[in-house]
Symmetry: C2
Subunit: 397 residues, 2 copies
């Protein structure tokens, strides 16, 4: 049933292009894949153990197959292999098994619990002996969907390893993708992993990591856009820590304090998202520069709106000012109050301009990545299609 | 009929507190008096001439009474002394008389024409011999209502001189005000002066210069608020020149390009004006600091909105950033794209903070005035109630 070769899988992070915060109040948000990826290598091993290796967080864990199998009776596995939600009881059992305190919320324990849950539920009695290494280009806790990229990689590789979905093969030098129903299954299992990690996730992050491209999200409904262009961006992390919960509460307070002022702002943000969707869809057939200028205008408008609803920060003002001085347009992405921002790079922007802007941002103490948004979702790779640095990072040692 | 002593009159400038640009699209604007004032001194003279002296623009003009009287038949004077609008014919006659080219729009010719029109229409056959000096603290062409303050001063002094309204007397050391019907007459005559200068003025500027305080303006209807607090501000002129016409057209273009995004922004600006009105009215009976904090929030919100509708400018961003670094809140006032901004000074702001902020703004090349908004409209003064510097400026020589 299980395959006997090593597989390589990757999944992207995500950024919110438009609609952060407004989405909490029923407006449209556009989430887009971020080509900072999480890479996973999985291979069979022969010593009756399951070993996971998460070099980003210096975590190595292994368990005996028989110990893992002893947990199985507590998990209500669906005979049709349909994803099942983690119950408080099953999570309690896993925490005890892995030696984590009941309330532990550190990255290590959440990553290990999500793996164990998916391993037990997806593989069931197959209980393959595997060695898994996961390494990510994504910073954790920055609102970039690193946990979803992880859950998607784990779900895709386990489903593939156990033969629940086809092995995309490793002959190609290009990334391979699964079929739509297979991707749907990956997504639904990854969502269970996200539940282990976040409790009550929206499902947007795992959907973006699975499908790639752009997703429209409104009132709990996630709709992938048919085709979208890939856009070059600079992602910047201001490294200013913030609490999403406090920021969301602040927006709600402002809405209650000034409803007649704030409700139209949310409406305008909604219209920005819809206009952005329209432009992205038009760009598939017509890549004229005018579309880029509209995207830039929308970025500026929404950044002002996000300031109005109170989720700006002096570090973000500084970032926008720096990029504006190079003729580039930026907005915060995610919860704001610091955190990350995206800067659109039109195709006609000179690389020296980008380099100068990145240098100046770095000099502010920010971290920058030049990458693309709107690219592929979860993909399988042959080793030859991966860069040396990725292969090096995935070496278990 | 005419009085035989010298009189001193002053009228304030105006700033838009909230609602600039939105008012063009039917939303509420709040205009408020700015205590940078225009001062006028008028006294009888004995050599059968009318002499005007405008030291700000190095203008001195005089005419013989008989020459002026020869123009009277061309002016349709209302027997009830009701204000009459300047016709193209009467303006043509005045331009020829004063020696101005037909299309001249410089400050000097407009100020002289407005005076001549008001002198002939208000004084009619009385034709008093007068010497008038007008000096202003207001910069011209900065959107601060300097022409309206001038028209109001001229109308008030001529109406007083010819006995159309009562002489408020010159005994008091305080400023004296006329009765409501008298102020209404001053306002309506000043509006005619504004028509000479601007062609098709809204009437807001002369109303603010007449009534003082705060006026609500919407769709052509001007409503003075009953009572409002005086607020300490810094007025800053970025000295960046701009074209109101081009800025207004730009907003219209944005509305046509992105109606679903921009219309809610205008709605939100409207709500900001209404909320500001509510807070100002509350402050008359309750000067709690909370009201000031709300005024600051509204200033920040509207400044972001004005950026969204495209009337911001890097100089204004810089200004907001400088004042924010001192804990102060600013917004552009008027047409934007440079021009002027107001910075609210809460009563608890330390004078050293204001001094430091003003110094930093001056170092940016801006001009600053620490003054109040919401103060008295047109007023009569005894010489003893005026400062030495004002009296000095009003000396004709």
């Amino acid at each position: 049933m299980t395959i006997d070769r090593e597989i390589f899988v990757s999944a992207p992070g995500k950024v919110i292009l438009h609609g952060e915060h407004a989405v909490v109040h029923g407006k449209v948000a556009l989430a887009v894949s971020l080509n900072l990826r999480t890479f996973l290598r999985m291979r069979p091993c022969s010593n009756d153990t399951v070993l996971i290796n998460l070099p980003n967080i210096n975590t190595k864990r292994s368990w005996g197959i028989s110990d893992l199998q002893s947990l199985l009776p507590a998990f209500q596995l669906d005979s049709a292999h349909e994803p099942t939600s983690p119950s408080p009881e099953s999570l309690h059992i896993l925490k005890t098994f892995a030696g984590f305190a009941e309330g532990s919320t550190d990255t290590e324990s959440l990553a290990v619990l999500a793996f164990l849950y998916l391993y037990l539920c997806i593989c069931g009695k197959d209980s393959p002996c595997i060695e898994m290494t996961v390494w990510s280009q994504l910073p954790t806790g920055a609102g970039l969907g690193s946990s979803a990229a992880y859950s998607v990689c784990v779900a895709a590789s386990l489903l593939t390893f156990c033969g629940r979905i086809a092995d995309p093969g490793n002959e190609s030098t290009e990334a391979s993708r699964w079929t739509k129903p297979e991707l749907d299954l990956i997504n639904r299992w990854a969502f269970q992993g996200e539940k282990v990690i976040h409790g009550n996730p929206s499902g947007v992050d795992n959907a973006v990591a699975t499908w790639g491209g752009v997703l429209r999200y409104q009132s709990g409904t996630i709709t992938p856009l048919d085709r979208v262009p890939k856009l070059q961006i600079v992602l910047t992390n201001t490294r200013v820590p913030r609490s999403t919960k406090i920021l969301v509460a602040g927006v709600k307070d402002k809405l209650l304090k000034f409803p007649s002022i704030m409700e139209p702002v949310l409406e305008s943000i909604d219209a920005v998202s819809q206009e952005c969707q329209r432009v992205l869809e038009d760009m598939v057939t017509d890549m004229s520069m005018d579309h880029y200028f509209v995207l830039e205008e929308l970025i500026d408008i929404n950044q002002h709106h996000l300031n109005v609803i109170g989720v700006g920060h002096p570090s973000l003002d500084k970032l926008c000012q720096v990029t504006a001085s190079h003729g580039l347009h930026s907005k915060l992405t995610g919860s704001g109050g610091g955190g990350c921002a995206i800067t659109l790079l039109r195709p006609d922007v000179d690389p020296t301009v980008v380099k100068a802007a990145k240098q100046e941002l770095t000099d502010c103490g920010f971290m920058c990545w030049e990458t693309i948004i709107g690219g592929l979702g979860v993909s399988a790779h042959s080793p030859s299609s991966l860069t040396d640095s990725v292969l090096e990072a995935l070496k278990s040692n």
